[in-house]
Subunit: 278 residues, 2 copies
């Protein structure tokens, strides 16, 4: 009998209060088959050790978050960013995931040049795409909500992300479809179709939109079902575009982080079944 | 000799710490020729009295803010919103401005239906457009930044605003072009051209984008020159589209509100000349 969790993946940040072994144990307990991992806690645990831990537990690593931050103009900063992204690819390969999520980066201090920043991302992808391919990893450009355009990610829509991705082969560069960032965009459904037709939907992530937004607007991603987003509708769009992969729930939310992590995981899995699958 | 302020208009909210007579006196003192007024302080002062005050001072009322909030599903709420918008048109006509800015409204409580909300706005405009025309007033749909889509305005892009406006004659319904809401959008320049070609740029407003955003994201509109937006570039787009009207600076900013209002007005006028005109 289906549990409804067959395609569910929990992004590690959703329950960052859990250590990696606690997370793996909680997934086994709740019947969660997939995890999206983050570089910092994985590095702290040890990349090889983390890979063995999740592999031994039979968990699928659906994505590694995250590479990116490719908009610097300073040559030394730029070289450091590229080197760091190559390490991220190496880590993804070691963890056994085929997808590295990219948050592209904001405007350099004092700059007002969005177009130039977007072009520097393309230049970086030309170097990183082949490197990723040679390690069996695909890069997934994540358009972030336009409220992050200045300080975090100058790629604000799926259309912009695809304009960048389409300069490269689909098995090198695709996109992340995350409901939180695109739900307001009436052109997003047609862009999902565009992405799917080219095999460029490399991951599908969910978070709900709740208000008021907190100061800094980073940690207000709402629990599934608590906000304004029709999750079934967006699942329908990616499925109509041919996406059959994992569906990852990625929440940054101070209230959820203050609670017991296993309870949050169980709640998130239940919400997923209620609002996405059933 | 040009002061650089010939097209400058100060939106009343920028210096809301000033009473209406104080604002009018400060404008005379700083050589500011235009004001954008808000309904609440104007009503508190008396609409006729406010009209006389600004007229006697030789000030141009560039806009009245704001009508809108047209997305309710409840019939009584909807009728009340339409009646309130007719009053806003009356007030605009009394004040001698030809432009009423509309903030369209967010999702009704519990709703996830952006498309339906946008259609209810169109239905309301069909009633309000002819009423406004008969009073010599144009409605200016303001697309608000996508971060307001759930709770304040389901119209998030210039393209969406024009899709709505174009169902009606340009002298009834056009758009507000506000840098704060559209600066991230790489399609906005072509949409400004679309709006200008049809005579639908009914007002042009400025605010800069500064981070971090404050809680609730309402009162973080940055002083001109403090943020990520290239004001001359956007002025260039509206002028290339044929716009020759007033340029209104509208800031909601707790730090500016805490300061002496005349000083803020003088600073804003100076920033306008420095970052927009010279």
């Amino acid at each position: 009998m289906s549990t409804g969790l067959e395609r569910f993946s929990i992004n590690q940040m959703t329950v960052k209060q859990l250590s990696l072994p606690e997370l793996v144990a909680a997934c086994a307990e709740s019947g969660v088959p997939g995890v999206g991992l983050w570089r910092e806690p994985v590095q702290a645990y040890g990349v090889e050790a983390a890979a063995k831990l999740v592999r031994d537990a039979g968990l699928t690593v659906t994505t590694l978050c995250r590479g990116g931050f490719l908009t610097a103009t300073d040559p030394a900063e730029r070289a450091a960013a590229l080197a760091d992204n190559r390490r991220a690819v190496d880590e993804a390969a070691t963890l056994g995931t085929d997808t590295l999520v990219l948050v592209s980066g904001g405007l350099p201090p004092g700059s007002k040049d969005l177009h130039g920043a977007r072009e520097r991302i393309a230049d970086a992808l030309a170097e990183l795409g082949p490197y990723a391919e040679s390690h069996g990893v695909r890069l997934a450009i994540e358009p972030l909500h336009p409220m992050y355009a200045a300080d975090r990610c100058v790629v604000s829509t799926l259309a912009q992300a695809l304009d960048l991705a389409e300069r490269f082969p689909a098995h090198q560069v695709g996109v992340t479809v995350d409901t939180y960032h695109i739900w307001w965009d009436d052109h997003a459904p047609e862009q999902i179709a565009r992405a799917g037709a080219a095999g460029r939907i490399h991951t599908f992530q969910l978070a709900d939109w709740t208000t008021p937004l907190p100061e800094g607007v980073l940690n207000g991603r709402g629990q599934i079902g608590d906000g304004a987003i029709d999750m079934r509708e967006w699942k329908g769009y990616v499925e109509a575009a041919g996406y059959t992969g994992a569906i990852e729930v990625e929440l940054f939310n101070e209230e959820l982080w203050a609670r017991e992590g296993r309870e949050v995981l169980a709640e998130t899995a239940a919400r997923f079944v209620e609002h996405v699958i059933r």
